[in-house]
Symmetry: C2
Amino acid sequence: MSKFTLSVLVENKFGVLARIAGLFSARGFNIDSLAVSSTQDPSISCMTIVVDADKKTLEQIKKQLNKLIDIIKVIDLTDKRYVEKELVLINVNLESKTKEKIIQAVDSVGAEILDVGNETVTISETGDTNKINALIELLRPFGIKEVVRTGKIVIQTEGEKEGGR
Amino acid sequence: MSKFTLSVLVENKFGVLARIAGLFSARGFNIDSLAVSSTQDPSISCMTIVVDADKKTLEQIKKQLNKLIDIIKVIDLTDKRYVEKELVLINVNLESKTKEKIIQAVDSVGAEILDVGNETVTISETGDTNKINALIELLRPFGIKEVVRTGKIVIQTEGEKEGGR
C-alpha cells in the first residue's frame, strides 16, 4: 500500500462531491485526505484526493472515476512533478507562564501569530502535510483548542518526475 | 444584501455537503464561497460558507441549517471576532522577457515562488480574499495557466466584535 495523489477536475455542480465520496465508500477505497478547491473557471472545481492503495486498486479507482458523469479529467500525479501545500489555523490555550514559550515555538518554525487574546493565541501556517503535522505536535503540550485545516491542494509543475515513484 | 460568514460544524459523513448544497440551491440562497476543512476531531468537518443575503434571509438560512441532521453547530460570525485566510497556487506563463517582471511582482506583494520551469512559474500565496484576488490581477497580464485555491477558512478569536458589523 502506498499513498497516491489524484487531481480530479469536476463540473462545479451540487452532488458531484457526494457521488465521488459514495464511489470510494461503496468500493471500500481508502481516502487519506480530500480537499475541494476552486479554479480560474467558476464552472470547474478541483478535488485533490490522496488514496492509500496498491497499484492495481489505484488503476480501478481511476477507471471508476473516469466513468462518473461531471468528471472532466482525472490526473494521476504519481509520476508527475507537482508542489503541494495546505493551510491551517490553530487556537492554542494561553497562560501567562506559557506565553513566551509559545511565541518562541511559533517563531522557531516560521509560523505566524494572527491574534493574541487573554486566554487564546491564534496561529497560522502554510506548508506540506508533514510541516503542518509537526506544528500541531509542537503546540499540543500547550493545549490545542481548535484546528481548522484545508487539506492538501496541489498544482502540477513542468515536466515528468525523474525516475518516477 | 451583505456578505455574511457562517462556520458550520458537521459530522464527517458522505452526503452532508450534498445536503447542505442542496438546501441552498432549492431555496435560492446565494453562496459566495464555500470551503470544507478538517478539524482536530476526525469525525467532524468544518464548512465555511459566505452567503450574500439580507438579514431576514440569513436568519432563514441559519434556521434551515439547524434543522438538517448531521449538523452539529451553526456559528454566525457576523458579530464575532475572527481571522480568515485562504491559500492559492498559481501557474503563470513564463517568457525570458517577462521573467524579471514576474519575480519583481511576486516579491512586491510578499508571495512565494515555488518552482521555475522553462515555460511556467509556480507561485503560492496565503492571505485574505482581497489579497489573493489582488495577486491574481497582478499576474493576469503575464498569462495565468492554472489557479487552485482553497476558499476562505476562518477561526474565531477572543471576544465579541466592537460595535458589530
